[in-house]
Each structure stands twice: as C-alpha cells, then as structure tokens.
Symmetry: D2
Subunit: 206 residues, 4 copies
C-alpha cells in the first residue's frame, strides 16, 4: 500500500512543472511568465538533465526556478538588467531550493561576452533590442542548440520571426497560448482570460 | 565547455514534458491528448517521483508515457476498454522506453475493484459514465489525493463540476486551453486552432 | 462619382452595427457589453425592422442603442434595476439619436408583469436569478420568439442551459467569444484578451 | 399587440447581420468567411446606406450579400478571379434577394483600373499579392476611405501591417477572432474552434 503524498519543507514538492503563480515572490510591475505559458516554454526548450540554459530577461525568475528543477545536473544562467529584480530571482531560487542557477546582473547583448560557458538552450523573454540579442545569442549557441522566445506584441512577433529567417534557423515553430481560467468572484466562477502570448522556437544546426 | 546535446537511441531524450504529437504511434479514430493540453494535465496532476497514478480512458497513451517518465519510482495504471487500444498504449510505452506502466484492459468503474494499489492521483480522460467513475474513483483515492479530468463537451463539464461539488472536493480549479498553432500550408504559415478543452481538478482531504 | 463619406452631427453615422466601446457614456463599475460580444448578440437576436425587444439587465445600454438603430419601426424595452444606470441608458440613447427605446426602472422578473407589449425577442444580459427570469420571460415571449442570453460564469452557463432544456427551447446554440485585440502600449502593439463570454440562444415554437 | 415574426419568401428575413453559414450555397474548396468573422469585418467596414464597397477575393460571396443588405442605396463590387466562383457569388446574391452587387470576374490589382466608381470602402479577403493589391487599392480609395483586410497567415499579417505603415494609414486596428462553437456530436455538445483570423483596418485621410 503506497503512502499518501509526503509533506515537505519546500513549497512545491512535485516533479511535474507548473508551479502556481502565487507561490512565487513578486515585485509590483515586474513581469512574470504565467504558469500556462511557462509550461509551453519549458516544453519547447527541450531540456536535458545536464543542459546549460541562458535565460535572458528573466523577470521574476519562474523559468530559472522550473528549469533548475528539471535540469538536476545542468546550469541555468539568468540575465537581468535590474539590480532589484536580479535579487528577486535569487530569492525565488532559494524559496524553491534551487541551487544550480547563476544570476548575472547585466544588459544583453553586451554582457553575453563575459559568460564563459556557451549554452545548449536560450530562453529569450524580453529585452530592448530583440533582434540584436537574438543575433548575438546565435553566435554563442552550441551546435544543435535551440532558442525559444516569447512575444506579446506584434513588433516582437515580427522581429523574432524575421531574425530566425535571417539566421536560417530550422524547425521554426510558433504557438499562441490563449488560456482562460475560471476564477472565483464572490459566489461565482467567472471566466477570465490570460493575455495571449506567442512562443517561437528555432534550431541551430551547425 | 559543455558537450552538445547528446544523441540517443530514444525518440525523445528530454526531461521536460511535451513530446510532439507526431512522435506517438496512432490509430485512426483513437483520441489523443494534444501536447499543449497534456502539459496542462501533467501540471495539474502534481506528480511526485513515487506517485501511483491511475489513468482512466487512456486512449493513445500519451499521459502514461509522460507520467511514467516523470515518476521514475512511481507506477502508472492505464485503464482502457478496447483491446487494440490497450496494445497501442503498450507500443507507445515501449517506443519511449517507459517501463513503469501497467495497462489494464477493462471497463471503468467496474474494473477498478480489481486494482490492488490505491492511487495518489487519478487522471480521468473519458468514459461513458463520468459521474459514476468519478464517484467510485473518489473511494479508492488516497488521502490528500487529487483527480484531474478533461471535458470537451458541455455535458461533461457539468457532470464533473457537479460531482466534484457532491464529493466536496477542495481547491476545485477549471482551466480552458485555447491553443493556436501556426502550421505550414504550402508557402504560408497559417493559424489553426486546437479544439478547446476544459481541465478540472479537485483535491480529497480525508 | 460618389461623394466621400458624409460627416454627421451624430457620433456614429454608420448602418453596420459595432459602435466602438469608447463612444458610449460609461459609469465606473457598470458592465458594458463589449463591441465584439455585442455583434454576436445582435446577430443571434435575429432582429426585424419592427421587432419588439426586451433587454433585461441592460447595463450601459449598448444593446438598446444598437438594436434601436437596426429596428427602425420596432420598440426596445430596456429593464434596469438601478436608477442611475437607467439614466445612463437614456443618456446613451440620446447621444446616438435613438428614440424607440423605453427604459423601465425595475427588477426582473417582478416588473415584467407590468409590461403591456409581449416581445418577439428577449436579450438577457444579467440578473440575480437567471433561472426565474428565463422561466417568466418564456411565458410572455410571442410564438416563434427567441431568447439570447450571456453567461460569464460557469453557474450562469449551467443555469441558462438547463432552463432552456426544461422549457424545451429549440435550436439551442452556444457560442464562446474569445477575442484578442492589439492595443497600443507606448511604442508597442500588445495583444490583450477580452474576457471570454458565452452566448446562448433558444427558440420558442408555440 | 405585435404580430409574431412574419414568415418571408427569403431565407433570411432579418435586418441584423450574421446569416448562418449553412444558408449559403457553397462549392468544395472555396473559402467562406464564417459568420462570427463576417460580423467583425462588417463592423470594421463602417458602412453607410449609400456606400460604394469593393470586395476583393470575394470567395463564396458572404460579404457582398450582407453588405448589399445593409447598404440599401449603395453599390457593392465583388471581384473574383475564378469564373465558377464568380457565378457562386451571383447565386448567393439571388438567393438572398440582393440586387446591388456587381460581380467582376478578374484578377486584382490589374482589373481595378477598369472599375469606374472609386470606393468608400474596400474589403480585402485574399489575393496572391496582398502588398500590391493594397497599394493599388489605396490610390483608388476616396478621401476618408477605409480598408479592412483579413489575414490567416503570419505572412499576410506582416504584409498588411507593413503596407499600412508604408501608406501612412491612420487608426490602424488589429483584432483577432478566436471563436469556439458548441456543436452537436451524437448526444453531446462538443466545443469546437473556428480557426483564428486577424482583421486589420486602416483609414485614408486625404
């Protein structure tokens, strides 16, 4: 007879990704990749146990936390411009017991030159100049590497799609996530929409 | 310097869930839980390494395969009425090197009485009488257990929601997945919709 | 050679429905049927030039305004519990030059007994007891009449659907509107979601 | 006491737009603008009673039929490359008693030079070279005119958006329609998705 689910000192004792949004420490105005979008991103990243992942524009740090848990022997480099937000990412890693994330406070693409380990995977969640960042990232990306990027605006959707073409990325995929949640408002369960987001992926061959 | 992503004899060497639909063996007319919906289901199931999961109405077997990979020391029981479909699930487990799945050919809720190990988690993907199955499943479910069910029709959405109320399930959540994919048609990338699906979850406390 | 589009003293000189939301007078906290949803509602109402329409829970009055414009020789009765909101509806009718709307300040279903003209069509946009209102409305509805109702919560979706069954409504249709708009935020055009809404329609035969 | 809704010899006796898809004559493989998308298109076209509208790539003819009904004193020019499809449009106009539609069998943008009446409004529903057509259309468009275009692919979404910028179109709007319908399958009502479509609008000022 199996035991009931074990309690744990950690706030999220599960191996399946998708930590509820409200379990993360948050700062007002700092973007957070919502649970449903995060699941699609992690899936498109195609992680292995020992993957080296760069996460650029890491915001609240939900991707570093979840990727750090999946890649037990891997290494996550989270790049974030803002000092206070960089600390938020560290706080969230501590909260979920994640120890294989390095937070770099710096501005992409300039700060990428200082990173010593080239990545298998890059997650591009934002940044002022998405074209430049994507072009630079592509140089550092290992063969058979993969970039997954999010776009919430038409401009970013274009920019990423065009830059993937320019870089001759292979297997380019675009998925749009349009999730509705039923949320409790008083006595009712009201349908609310999560703002739609596009997720673009592309592979590097050589 | 890290090595490039390793090749593998398995068709899916990654630890992040979300195996592409086309990598599964399929039979015409047999339902398959699409990748994007599967990610939401796995996340709502909140799996641990040693979870015992019952998957009722397992269809193509995508949930047993992905859950079997996440729960390394766990056990997945896939229940499927149809003989040929039960074999399809076995084929897909073999294909992805998953060895901790037992396929039971039988009809829920009757066949549940024969199962010797009560579950921590139940995934309910279909079935003629969803109310009866849910009521029976609840009896076998371990304390702190959790049921996740999908609904593609208004009738099933009602039935599951009402039965959760009747059973006094806690933390009931409903999410609707409305995914659009950009698919290649000739020279164009055309937006296509994945049919919307509702995912309902509820916890048992004692 | 045709003349360019004529200017007009009215803020909306067009015959096609779908007045932009921001052209209506609004009060904080008072619900407004958004343009995209309004189009679906008006279409499902199947209006004729001389239709008598009851609009129950009329809120900001967007449906009375648009229906009043389409039914030139018809009559729209807008029912609204709140005094201030009833005045808002009158203001919006004046603003768009609509003269065939009567605003009744009262509470459905009680106030329906005072209405002297039975309706061809009923639009049900809210109300505390949607089941009771729907049952009462059905009694007053003319033969070959039609009710169109909106639901933003699972409870209302159930209640309306079940009451249509109970009343043996015919040709019941359910449509869910999930609209995304591209809105300007600074220099970017960001995709934002309009909260999803269900629109249910049913016909009375005798 | 009002009379019940009148019967009519026409298949659609209503003034509100949104004729059900199945009432149109159809040819296999010929695109049809679905009801929910059509409502958004007609609304964005901002039609007046005497509007001259060009509909380019008219397909099954649903827009000419509905616009012809709304613009009683206007004129709709439907342009369609294929001979058989041009006849389909004529059949559908006859079916709904619409007499103010002229069907031109020809290929845009070349055939536009032969049209003698410049348009207030242009609806662009397809075409091999959407950039060229949009540039040519803009020359013929009357001051204060408006173009509404649909895109089902990322390429068309880009092409239209960029050409609107190049032409300095004003008040550019993008709406994405993601409609789910509940359809009867056996004894169940199953949620099905209408493929998402983008609708872009832009105004010409001088």
């Amino acid at each position: 007879m199996p035991e009931p689910i074990k309690s744990s000192s950690l706030p999220w004792p599960y191996v399946s990704p998708g930590i509820p949004d409200e379990l993360f420490d948050q700062l007002p105005g700092i973007p957070m990749t919502k649970r449903e979008t995060r699941l699609l991103l992690l899936s498109q990243l195609r992680l292995q146990e020992d993957t080296t992942l760069w996460d650029i524009g890491a915001g609240t740090g939900t991707i570093p936390v979840e990727a750090g848990r999946l890649c037990r022997h891997g290494h996550i480099v989270a790049i974030e411009r803002d000092d206070e937000v960089a600390n938020l990412i560290r706080t969230n890693c501590d909260r979920f017991g994640v120890t294989n994330v390095t937070v770099i406070q710096g501005s992409a693409p300039e700060c990428l030159a200082e990173l010593t380990t080239p990545p298998h995977r890059v997650c591009l969640e934002g940044g002022r100049s998405v074209r430049d960042i994507l072009r630079q990232v592509w140089k550092y990306l290992l063969p058979q590497g993969r970039v997954v990027a999010t776009a919430t605006s038409l401009e970013h959707l274009y920019a990423i799609s065009e830059t993937f073409s320019e870089l001759q990325a292979r297997n380019v995929e675009v998925v749009q996530s349009v999730i509705n949640r039923l949320e409790t408002r008083g006595n009712n369960q009201v349908f609310t929409a999560v703002d739609p987001i596009f997720i673009l992926s592309g592979d590097k061959y050589s």
